[in-house]
Every structure is written in C-alpha cells, then in structure tokens.
C-alpha cells in the first residue's frame, strides 16, 4: 500500500480499520435489492460490471484483429469475418464501453457524493438507464450472435442502408436504445448538478470532475438524439427501400455522414472530458496541491464541449463536402486544440512545488497526460486538411484515436477506478501489482500503436484485411505490443477482483484527499452522508508543503462535522457560510 511504504504515512503501517456498519453494500443483499435499487451507488456497480463485460468482448475482438494482421494475407478469417470483427470491436468499445464508462460508473457513483447530495435527482430514471443499457447490450449481442455486422462502427450509407446484408437493423436498434440510456444519465446529471448542490457548494467550489460531468451531459443531451434518429432512418430505409441516404433513389449519402458526425465528433469529447476530470482529481491529490488555474480548466471544459459541436466536418474532408466547409471545419479543429492545450499545461503546472507520490492512480493520470498530448497533437495532422487528404482512412487515424481513446480515456478510467476503488468497495487493492500493471499498459500501449502512425503515413488503409507485404513488419510490431497491452489490462482484472475477497478494509480517506466523497465512510451509507454537508472550502484545498501539515488540513472543523455528525461550533452552520 502506498501509504505504508512512505515514511510520512498518517497511519501506522499495520493499522486496521473497522468496516463501517451501515453501507450501501450491506443495506440489503437480495438480488431484488440490487436489480430494483434506486441508489446511484448500486447502479454504478451494476454499470461497472456490465461495462467491463463489454470491454472484455471488445478486447477479445481487438486481439483477434491483431492476430490476424500479423500476416499480410491473414491466418484464419474470411474477409467478411474480419470486417465483422472490427465492426464488433468498434461498436462494443465505443457505444457499450467508452461512452458509458466514466459517466455511468464513476459519474453515477460520485456526482451526488461530490456535491453533497443524497442521490441523483431522478433515481428511477437512473435505474431505467441501466436497464436500457442492458437491453441495448443484449440486442447488440444478439445481433453479433446472429452473424454480426460488417459496416464498421460508422454505418456509412449507402453501404449500410442498401448493400450490407448483415444484421444492421438489429444492431442499430441496440445502439438507439443505448443512446437513450446515455440521455437518461445525462439529464439526471444536469438536473442534479444544477439543483442539488449542498449548501455552500458554489459552482466554483465544484471539483473539476463535476464540471467535466456537466459538460459531458450537455453534449450527451444535445448530440445523442441526432445519431439515434439518423440511425433509425437507416433502419427505415432498409425496411422500406427508400433512399434519403441512397442516391439511386434520390437521396444523399453524405447527409448521413454529416448527421452521424454531428453527434460522433462531440461524442469523442464525451469520452475524453470525464477522463480529464478524473485526471484533475488525481493529479492534485497526489501532488497535494491545489489544482493550477482552476477556472481556466473549468472554462476550457465548457469551451471544448461547445467548440466540439462545430468541427464534425473534419471527418469528411475527402468526401464530396464543399472545399469551403472543409476549411471552416479545419480551422475550428485547430481552435479546439487550444482549450485542450490549456488543460495539459495546467495539470503540468499543478505538480510544481507539490509533493508527488507516484501511486498507481497517479501513474495512470500522468500516462493520461502524456498519451493524450501525443494523441491530440496527431489529431492536428488530421485537422490540417492537406495532410488529412493523405492520412485519412489510414492507420494514422487508427493510431490517433487509440492514443486519445485508449491512452487517454481508458487510462483515465483505470486511474479513476483505482483512485476511488477503496471508496467504492471499501477494500484496498495491492499497490505493487497496480503499479506493475500501469507500467505495462503504458509500454504495451506505445508498442502497439506507435508503429501504426508510421505504417499509416506509408499509406496502409484502415479496415484492410489483406495488405501489401511491405507493411508487415509494422503490423507484427504492433501485434507484439498488443499482447503486452493485453497483459497490462488483464492483471488489474485479477488483483481488483482479489481485493474484493481478500483485500484489507480501506480507511475512509486512504489518500488524505479533500473532496466531499472522502468525508463519508468507505463504502458510503445509502444516503451518502449522516447529515447534509455544508461546504466552506474551495475544491482541492490541499496544503502541501509539508505532509505533516497536509494531514491537519483535512481535519478541519467543517469536515469533522460531516464526518461525525458533531457540530463543533454549535451554531448549526459548521463554521458558517461565507
């Protein structure tokens, strides 16, 4: 355990902690009490299980893809099977894993805790959201079992609407429903964050994770309906043979791409913003320092959400899109990079004069910053129109988005899971294994995807089952890296599960962090806090110079009251509001 290895640990190394009596986990234990729960924390657990399941499936597909690509003529798959494999990979990873990952798991668990509320505004809607998600997952699985789809995760028309004779409709109905599940979560977060903050929890005292969830929810609410109905039109076209997107019948195939990316570009920010929020929490906690430039990070979060809606056309530079539109989309894509840059630099500056502990969550967070930077900067090659003409639809794009989605978003998710694992489960995982896994993931990841930049620049198109021999060396490298990466991802699955069974009881605040979520027991009680907390301090109120001091910092009277239910000042205001 990290705090056991550092000499300035606030707890004696062998100290054990009693498990809290009343937690959301032991409140009731029937299956029904889980499946019909309204508790945001239980729903988060349900989501964690289902999301991991689909991640494993997506990873399985990825492994098959990598295996197949070690030879220029494949090993054991038919063309069609290969095509179904990357489609399945993309659909599982994007719609069933990454988009719900942080919001529905960590967001669900933490939003009420962090703002000091008892639950989300609409607990039943929250539960419905999970059922929609499982229904969607079930339909998509059914589709996969009946043969899958071969359209890619982008469902471009007219291939998907007129030509593909795979299970497109079933798959789309699944995604449609998954969309409603995210909308439900999004609406819930927006309302909760607007109306249910604890007394004293002003907008600028919110943890940046909440800002990130808020921005994400806004994107979800504004964008998801667009892709839902667009995909539905594809189903109608398939069913009736009509062509809004099919030129033979008078429609326009590129309209589909416009509508699809109008959602799906903002969707990439649905994936990355929550990770950025997680990173802000972890970086400042393990540097024991207030986040640098709080308001700049908060506003760049909103700026990314808004600007993100104005760049969808950068996926369409080489289609029949007008040159002028392309230029506008290109310049705005360069502009979106600026708020991202602001965030990267502010995180870096946070460490300055901090007191850095390289714990597993911190390793993931630092990995996030580094890999997101590379991924983001390679996004600029694609935002730059002339180079995108060459690079689009090659492995360069594949490498770009894996850097931001795996190196970035997935690292953030894993970092967050580790950071809040003691809070969520009340158990401590094995820090040594965790650091090893974080290191392996970082190395394996770069080995897997860096060669893809190079082979992409050479001209290797994506979604290719067979490819010219001169590209083979890079593919073999990439596949070798993928096996390291897979190892790095399987290990956490093992030690996290092990910690549930044999892990030590976690203290309420193992990291000495200052967020409200740490002021309640681990795991928290059903209604989160014994009394409604009153917030009198800024977010990230770390005083880092000296770890000794840091320990005192968290034991301030206001926190004590929440923690113990005792009001030290006796005025019912716990130190008073400003």
């Amino acid at each position: 355990m990290s705090y056991q290895t550092t000499k300035d640990t606030p707890f004696p190394a062998k100290q054990t902690f009693p498990a809290p009596k009343n937690t959301y986990l032991n409140a009731a234990s029937t299956v029904k009490s889980w499946l019909l729960t309204g508790d945001h924390k239980r729903i988060a657990i349900l989501y964690l299980i289902s999301v991991s399941f689909f991640f494993a499936l997506g990873g399985l597909a990825a492994s098959i893809i990598r295996l197949e690509l070690t030879s220029p003529k494949g090993h054991f798959l038919e063309h069609e099977t290969y095509n179904k494999m990357f489609s399945a990979h993309g659909i599982f990873m994007v719609f069933l894993f990454l988009i719900p990952s942080i919001p529905a798991v960590l967001g669900n668990f933490l939003v009420p805790l962090m703002i000091g509320a008892k639950d989300l505004a609409f607990p039943r809607l929250n539960l419905i959201s999970w059922y929609l998600y499982t229904t969607a997952g079930g339909l998509i699985l059914l589709g996969m079992m009946r043969g899958g789809v071969d359209t890619g995760w982008t469902f471009y028309t007219p291939y998907s609407s007129m030509y593909s004779n795979t299970n497109v409709s079933l798959m789309i109905v699944g995604i449609f429903i998954a969309g409603f599940s995210s909308i439900a979560t999004g609406i819930n977060f927006i309302v909760t964050i607007h109306t249910m903050r604890a007394p004293g929890m002003t907008w600028f005292r919110l943890p940046l994770f909440i800002w990130a969830q808020y921005a994400t929810s806004v994107i979800i609410v504004l964008g998801t309906p667009v892709v839902a109905i667009t995909l539905m039109l594809v189903v109608v076209e398939r069913a009736l043979g009509i062509g809004i997107f099919s030129p033979e019948l008078g429609g326009d195939p590129v309209l589909f791409q416009h509508l699809f990316w109008f959602y799906s570009h903002p969707a990439v920010y649905i994936m990355i913003l929550p990770s950025m929020g997680v990173t802000s929490e972890i970086i400042s906690c393990f540097s024991r320092k207030r986040i640098f430039g709080y308001s700049f990070i908060a506003f760049s979060t909103l700026a990314i959400a808004v600007l993100g809606f104005l760049v969808w056309g950068h996926h369409m530079f080489v289609t029949s899109q007008s040159m002028y539109s392309s230029m506008v989309f290109s310049i705005i894509s360069f502009l979106v990079a600026v708020p991202s840059a602001i965030k990267v630099f502010n995180w870096t500056a946070t460490i300055y004069k901090g007191s850095v502990e390289l714990s597993a969550p911190m390793m993931y967070a630092l990995g996030f910053i580094g890999l997101f930077t590379i991924g983001g900067l390679t996004g600029l090659y694609l935002a730059s129109i002339a180079t995108d003409v060459h690079l689009t639809d090659t492995y360069f794009v594949v490498a770009h988005f894996h850097y931001v989605m795996v190196g970035g978003a997935l690292s953030g998710f894993l970092g967050g899971i580790h950071f809040w694992w003691p809070k969520i489960t009340g158990k401590l995982y094995d820090e040594g294994w965790a650091k090893l896994a974080a290191g392996l993931t970082f190395i394996g990841f770069n080995l897997t995807f860096f060669p893809q930049f190079m082979v992409g620049f050479l001209g290797m198109p994506r979604r290719y089952h067979f490819y010219p021999e001169e590209f083979q060396a890079y593919h073999v490298l990439s596949s070798a890296g993928a096996s390291v990466l897979a190892l790095g991802l399987i290990i956490p699955g093992i030690y996290l599960t092990a910690s549930l069974i044999a892990g030590k009881q976690a203290p309420d605040n193992p990291w000495m962090a200052v967020g409200l979520e740490w002021m309640t027991t681990s795991p928290p009680p059903t209604l989160n806090f014994d009394a409604t907390p009153i917030v009198t301090w800024e977010a990230y109120d770390y005083t880092p110079n000296d770890p000794e001091e840091a320990r005192h910092a968290v034991i301030n009277p206001a926190l004590l009251e929440i923690h113990t239910g005792v009001d030290p000042l006796g005025d019912g205001m716990a130190g008073g509001l400003e």
Binding site: P123, I187, M196, P225, V226, I242, G250, G251, D252, G572
Partner: protein, 250 residues
Amino acid sequence: MSVDAISTTHGLVGHDDHAHHDPNQAHQFEDMAQQNESYIVGMWSFLVTEIMFFGVLFIAYSLNRLLHPGSFIDAHRHLNVWFGGINTVILLTSSLTMALAVRAAQLQSKVAQLVFLTITILCAFGFLGIKTVEYTHKYHEHLIPGANFHYVSVGAEGGPSAEAAVNPEKSNIPQGQAQIFFLLYFFMTGLHGIHVVIGIIAMTTLFIMIKFDHPFTRYYMWVEMAGLYWHFVDIVWIFLFPLFYLIPGK
C-alpha cells in the same frame, strides 16, 4: 439557506422518517422548491433532446427539398390544406386548454382541471381522427412508402397529367423522390402522432387520478409536466404544417 434544511437528519437507510415533509417530496430532495426546480429543468432538458430528435428530420427535409424542389412541390399537392389547417386549429386550441388546465392545477381546482383536461384530450383525439382520414386516403392512393408505393403526378391544375395517368413510370417525378417526400411526411407526422398518443395517455392517467383524488395529484407539478410536453407537441406541428401542406410554387 434555511437552517432547518441542514438540521434535517436522515436515518442511514430510512426512507420513511421524513414525517414533517410534504408527502410528495422524494427522499433525495431537501425540500419542495428543490424538487420543483429539478422537475422543470429535467423536463426542459428532455424537451431539448426532443428538439434535436425532430431536428434531424427537419434537416433531412430541407436538404431533400433543396435537391428536388420540383418533386416536393408536385408531391405536396397530394396533401389537403384544409385537413392540415383544421388540425392546426385543433392543436392550438388544445394547447390553450392545456395551459388552462395547468393553471387550474396550480390553483388546485379539481373541476376546472377535469374540464380542461377533457377538452384537451378530445382535441387530441380529433387531431388523430383527421390524421387517420388523411392516412387512409394516402393508403388508397398508394402513397405509403414501401412496396406498394405508386406515385402519380398531379399537375398544377390538379389531376394527373394524361401521360402519367396511364403509365406512372413515365411520370416526370421520379418515384424515388416522391417516395422521399412521403417517407418524410409519414415519418415526421407519424413521430408527431406518437407523441400525441403519449400525451393522451399521460393526460388520461392524470384525469383518472384527479377524478379519484389520488394524493399524488395534490402535487400540481404532474399536470405542469404534461402541459410542457403537450405544448412541445404543438410547437412541432406549428412547423410541420407549413412545411408539408403549404409549399407554394409552380
């Protein structure tokens, strides 16, 4: 911030010990004001998703009208302005009575709520009735997109051109384009119609509950929610009407 909000303590798992609360208040809220605001903001953000939902169809419509102005003008002649117009009047009226019903709910007047909800529901049925007549006509004219679709062009003067009447393949309007018009027509009015049906279900449920003095309905917010939803349905029609029934031009 009121002090009693803070001193409110809850049992750890107890949902039942908020005796001094308004019975309509859910456990996760601190007070009714918070709950009311949450409901309104929640409803509006839901309506935002609805706007984007219909928005896609409006864009598909605009692009296809831009691509095929001729076909759209020709095809829209198959729709009857009077049916559309009367339906507009019906929906606008129902919107008024819905607003009155919300007002009655705020004043907790049972009779007024029942009366205005009834009128609103009747209007909704009237609207659907007329739509059914229209859809039936389209069915007989083979204008339902799909296998049986069979478009016959009407001239500006009305009635099919002599050539086209005999052999629709020779129609100047490609079948595909006309089909797109009718697909959009059925998809958009159909989706709108589904919303009307959901509205009827919601209002009828409320009607019954109010009628039997269900305690639930002492909370006016439910009628207000239904009201917001219903007005939104009205707004969609406000745009659908001119776009489908009124396309001037030769």
